[in-house]
C-alpha cells in the first residue's frame, strides 16, 4: 500500500525528523512530528511553522494568442482563465495573486485555487496556478480541455512547495532571501537563492502572516533545512495544518466546498469580482448571479459549540426548537481558541452571528451558536 504512494522531495527529511506519516491525496505525508498536533499548532501561531505542501498542484498557464505588448498578453490569458473562474483576473496587478474557484456549468465549486500574475514585464501572458492535491489531475484536464486552443498548460511537477507560517516567518525568510520581508500579503516575486529559482508568495492557509515558496525539487530539502535551522521554526504536519485553517475560517476543498456548493453558498462571494458580477461570463453565472441578488438558500457559517465536545464533519445542525437545518462540514478542537470550533451549512434564516442552534453529537443535542469567522484574528502583512 505504502509503495503505491507518491513521495515529495521532502519525504526522507520528514522521516528523519520523526514524522508520523499518513496517506493523503495519494501522497505519503507527515500528519504530525514528535512535537504533536497541539504544540505544532500553537508553535505556528506563536513563532513559525514549516509545512510541506509539495503535493499541491503547481502549473503555469501561458497564452498562445497573438497579443499587443505585455499588457495585451495579460489581457489574453486573463480572459481565458476568467471563462472558468468568477474572479477579477484582468485587473490583477503585476505580482498580485488572487484566491478563486474553478466552477462547473451549474455553478458548483470544482476546486479552489490561487492565481498569480507574474511580476516581471517579460513574463506577462502567463499565470501561476496552485490547486489542491486531490483535485489536481481533474483541474489540469479541465484547463487543457477548455483552454487548450488559447493557452498552454505547463504542469510544474518538478517543483516543490514549502510554506512558512507564523509571526516569525517574515524575519526567517527575509534573512535567507533578502527582500521577501517587504512583500505584502497576496503578492509574489521571483528570487534567486544560491542559484535556485524561487517563486515566493506572501500568503498561506493558517490565518498567520507567512510565505509559500515554490522551489525546484532538487533544491527543496536544502531550502527546508535552511529554514529549519532557525530556532523559531518547527516542522508542522497535516494535523495542525487542518486545525490552523479551521480556526482561520478557511475552506477545505471536498469538505467545506464541493461541486454541489456555489461560492455564494460557500460564503466566499468576495472571490467574485465586481466587474464579473455585472458582466457574468463564467460557468454557472445564472445560478451565482441569482444567488447574489436574491440570497442563497443556505450559507456556510462559523459554529461555536458551548460545551467542550467537538462537533465533527457530518454532525447534524438543528434549530433551537429541534428542526434539522444543516450539517457540519469541518469541525474539531481549536488549540488557540481553547475549545471546539466548527463550520457548516445552515438555512439562511439561521445565519446571523449569535443565533442559537443545536449540534447533534452522538445522539445528544449540544447547544451552540453561529459565530463570525475567523475564530482567531488574521495577522496578514499588508505593509
Amino acid at each position: 500500500m505504502t509503495d503505491a504512494l507518491k513521495q515529495t522531495p521532502l519525504t526522507a527529511l520528514h522521516r528523519s525528523l520523526g514524522a508520523k506519516m499518513t496517506a493523503f491525496a495519494g501522497y505519503d505525508m507527515p500528519v504530525q512530528f514528535p512535537l504533536g498536533v497541539l504544540k505544532e499548532h500553537l508553535h505556528t501561531r506563536e513563532k513559525a511553522g514549516l509545512f510541506d505542501v509539495s503535493h499541491m498542484g503547481q502549473a503555469f498557464l501561458q497564452t498562445t494568442e497573438a497579443a499587443l505588448g505585455a499588457d495585451g498578453a495579460h489581457e489574453k490569458i486573463a480572459a481565458a482563465i476568467e471563462s472558468l473562474v468568477p474572479g477579477e483576473i484582468r485587473k490583477l496587478k503585476k505580482g498580485g495573486m488572487r484566491y478563486s474557484v474553478l466552477l462547473s456549468e451549474t455553478g458548483g465549486v470544482l476546486d479552489d485555487l490561487m492565481i498569480t500574475r507574474p511580476a516581471r514585464d517579460d513574463k506577462q501572458g502567463l499565470l501561476f496556478l496552485v490547486v489542491n492535491a486531490a483535485t489536481k489531475a481533474q483541474d489540469f484536464a479541465l484547463l487543457q480541455e477548455k483552454l487548450g486552443d488559447r493557452a498552454e498548460l505547463e504542469i510544474a511537477d518538478h517543483r516543490a512547495l514549502l510554506a512558512l507560517q507564523g509571526p516569525k516567518a517574515a524575519g526567517v525568510v527575509d534573512a535567507l532571501i533578502p527582500g521577501t520581508g517587504e512583500q505584502t500579503f497576496m503578492t509574489m516575486k521571483p528570487y534567486e537563492w544560491n542559484g535556485a529559482d524561487l517563486i515566493v508568495s506572501r500568503c498561506g492557509y493558517t490565518g498567520e502572516d507567512g510565505f509559500e515558496i515554490s522551489v525546484p525539487d532538487e533544491r527543496a530539502e536544502e531550502l527546508a533545512k535552511a529554514l529549519l535551522a532557525s530556532p523559531d521554526v518547527e516542522p508542522i504536519g497535516l494535523g495542525a495544518r487542518d486545525s490552523l485553517r479551521l480556526e482561520a475560517g478557511l475552506c477545505l476543498y471536498g469538505h467545506d466546498l464541493t461541486p454541489e456548493t456555489s461560492p455564494v453558498e460557500g460564503n466566499i462571494a468576495f472571490a467574485i469580482g465586481k466587474r464579473r458580477r455585472a458582466e457574468g461570463g463564467f460557468p454557472g453565472a445564472e445560478r451565482i448571479l441569482h444567488e447574489l441578488q436574491e440570497g442563497p438558500s443556505r450559507l456556510r457559517v462559523g459554529l461555536l459549540p458551548e460545551g467542550r465536545a467537538p462537533a465533527r464533519e457530518g454532525t447534524q445542525i438543528q434549530s433551537a426548537d429541534g428542526k434539522p437545518i444543516g450539517s457540519v462540514t469541518s469541525g474539531g478542537f481549536g488549540p488557540t481558541v481553547g475549545g471546539p470550533v466548527a463550520m457548516g451549512y445552515v438555512d439562511t434564516a439561521y445565519v446571523e452571528a449569535g443565533t442559537e442552534l443545536c449540534l447533534i453529537v452522538r445522539g445528544k443535542a449540544q447547544p451552540a451558536h453561529v459565530a463570525d469567522m475567523p475564530f482567531t484574528p488574521q495577522r496578514y502583512y499588508r505593509g
Partner: protein
C-alpha cells in the same frame, strides 16, 4: 493485575471493582487528547458497549467496556483536564470504575505481554 483488550482499553482488578482506562499505546497513537466524555455513575453496561469517548485534535475515539457491570465512579478531573490522559493513561488518568457483574470476563482479557505483542503487530 492489569489486563488489556484488543481495542486498547485496560482493566485493573481491585476486589470485585475494575478500574478502566486506555492504554499508553492508545494514548500515544491518539496524540493530544482534548476532550473526554464519561458515563454517569449508576449506568449499567455490557462488555463491548461504548463506555466513554476520548478525542484528540484529529479525531474522536470510542472506548468500549472491557467487562460488564455498573459504573460506580467516573474520573471527573480528566474531563476538566483531558491532557492528563496523555500524561498518565494507565495510572492517575483512569476513566471509570466498574463493579463487575461477571468477573470471569476479566480472565478472558490479554495480559501485559500478550497485549504488547498484539499492539506491535498492529503497527
Amino acid at each position: 493485575m492489569t489486563k488489556y483488550t484488543k481495542d486498547h482499553e485496560w482493566a485493573r482488578a481491585e476486589g470485585d471493582v475494575y478500574v478502566i482506562g486506555i492504554s499508553a499505546h492508545a494514548a500515544e497513537q491518539l496524540g493530544d487528547i482534548v476532550f473526554v466524555e464519561l458515563p454517569e455513575p449508576g449506568k449499567t453496561i455490557a462488555k463491548g458497549d461504548e463506555l466513554a469517548v476520548v478525542e484528540s485534535v484529529k479525531a474522536a475515539s470510542d472506548v468500549y467496556a472491557p467487562v460488564s457491570g455498573e459504573v460506580i465512579e467516573a474520573n471527573q478531573p480528566i474531563v476538566d483536564e483531558p491532557g492528563k490522559v496523555n500524561e498518565d493513561p494507565e495510572g492517575a488518568a483512569w476513566l471509570v470504575k466498574i463493579k463487575a457483574s461477571d468477573p470471569s470476563e476479566f480472565d478472558t482479557l490479554m495480559d501485559e505481554a500478550a497485549y504488547k505483542e498484539f499492539a506491535e503487530s498492529e503497527e
